[in-house]
């Protein structure tokens, strides 16, 4: 970015910062324009405000729900479910991947098609099955999140460990590093970017399915809030739920971004130089 700017030769320091600011704001113009259009649309008669209420109405409803503490309860419930299932999936997937590809490569090769088959399964097709086996309570929700995030993380971790540059492994081994040391110091850091990709994918899928699971069978959570509002034809609350879900999804993505930046800081440096 910097090199580009100097190459283009901006006249002065002030113009450069102004340009940078404009570029940074560029992203917001679209969103602000969209919100403005949304706010004005019912007034201009472009849509029915009963079905698509303007943002101001949704904001007012959100404040009411927040004041009663309801929104927080539902959001916390959803977040707890998502994080619990995700944490359990990570806790199982990473050691399993390490064990499989680090120490049992033949077994991994043997099991790879089965893992691919299982990870290709639409978690939704399994949803009625989970309800049947685990009931409608928290366990079924936990199971569906765990299942839908387990396979992306497991697959990514196995691929990441397998995709490590053999030269690095040989170099470490030729310097007399023990197997465990090679694994911890070479294989794991090499696999981290891939693991983060898997984690991101797993988290996105898990959150998606959490909301749907809450819509199908729950009496708390943001998914339930949306579904219940739809059933009761309480439109502004429906939109509050939908926006909260979007916000939570973005927050989850942001958290993973932060984690990635923290774990892969060496990669960032390479990119910047």
């Amino acid at each position: 970015m910097d090199a580009n700017e100097t190459a283009r030769g901006h006249p002065g320091e002030g113009a450069r910062t102004l340009g940078a600011m404009g570029r940074r704001l560029m992203g917001w113009y679209g969103i602000l324009g969209f919100l403005a259009l949304w706010q004005l649309a019912p007034l201009l008669g472009l849509c029915d405000r009963r079905f698509i209420p303007p943002p101001s109405e949704i904001g007012a409803e959100a404040l009411v729900l927040m004041g009663r503490g309801e929104l927080f309860v539902h959001a916390a419930t959803s977040a707890q479910r998502a994080l619990l299932g995700l944490a359990a999936a990570v806790a199982l997937a990473l050691p399993l991947a390490a064990l499989m590809s680090g120490f049992l490569p033949r077994l991994t090769r043997f099991l790879a098609p089965l893992v691919a088959l299982l990870s290709g399964i639409n978690p939704f097709a399994l949803f009625p099955l989970f309800i049947l086996l685990f009931g409608v309570g928290e366990k079924a929700k936990f199971a569906i999140i765990f299942w839908s995030s387990l396979f992306p993380i497991l697959g990514a971790a196995i691929n990441g460990i397998a995709g490590c540059d053999p030269l690095l492994l040989k170099a470490a081994r030729s310097m007399g590093a023990k197997r465990a040391v090679v694994f911890l110091k070479v294989s794991v850091p090499a696999a981290l970017p891939s693991i983060m990709v898997g984690l991101r994918l797993g988290a996105t899928t898990a959150f998606l399915f959490l909301i749907a699971a809450e819509m199908l069978a729950a009496n708390t959570g943001l998914g339930w809030l949306v579904h219940n509002s739809a059933m009761n034809n309480y439109i502004p609350r429906l939109y509050v739920g939908a926006v909260s879900i979007a916000a939570m999804g973005l927050a989850l993505a942001f958290l993973i971004d932060r984690l990635e930046g923290f774990l892969l800081d060496y990669k960032e440096e390479v990119r910047a130089s």
């Binding site: 290709g120 429906l238 939908a242 999804g249």
Partner: protein
Amino acid sequence: MKRIGGFFGDSFYRFGSIVLFVLAWQTLCSTGLAPGTFVASPAVIAETLAKWAVNGFLARHGLISLSRALYGFLLAVAVGVPLGFLLGGWFKAAGRILDPLLKFLGQFNPFALFSVFMLIFGLGETSKVAMIFWVSLWPILHNASLGVRTVDPLFVKLARSLGLSRPRILWRIVVPSSAPYLFSGLRQASGTAFFMLIPAEMLGAARGLGWLIINAQINYQIPQLYAGTAIIVAIGLAIDALFRFLEGQVVRWREKAAV
């Protein structure tokens, strides 16, 4: 002899675990370790599927689901590809302004919107098709615009200096160069379309495969539930395999260049 051994070894690695899994499942069921009230054995699933195939039940629900997914997907292709090309190639400033908004909308949880779609489009086919359209639009749009943006400007300049007309530049240079991205977008979208259709049919439908399994669960019809699940899984995997195959066929030249 060695080649035969290699062949057997290969298919052992390719199918061994799956065969073993099915056999273990069957054994657990027939020995009674997995209770029949909860788990249907592979044999029972196969029997149910065969019965459905004969009496046309499978074709009826399967075709409805597939046609919903197909309509939504085709609509998304018809809107997403041209829009992506326009935003990525011709109106770059508009593309830059709209990019964050489009990203946000693409990340918007489609289930939260499904209720809105039902409100606006009703309980009929339209809301299901709208949902599929929505979820498959974003990967197509994103990848189409990304593909156009990664076209080597040198090629475009060269073509222009050789006096090629704009439609010809589009067809001979932009489309082939962005084909890999386009296809990866199409594959993602086709997967998502079928993925999302199932819960959509569970939430509001009276026909289709999603309805089939949720109905089987509510009525405690274990063989039907497992058979329906199996067929959904099979169709999902088949769609993915089909698009991988198509991708390989169309984008073959790139493979060679990479080697």
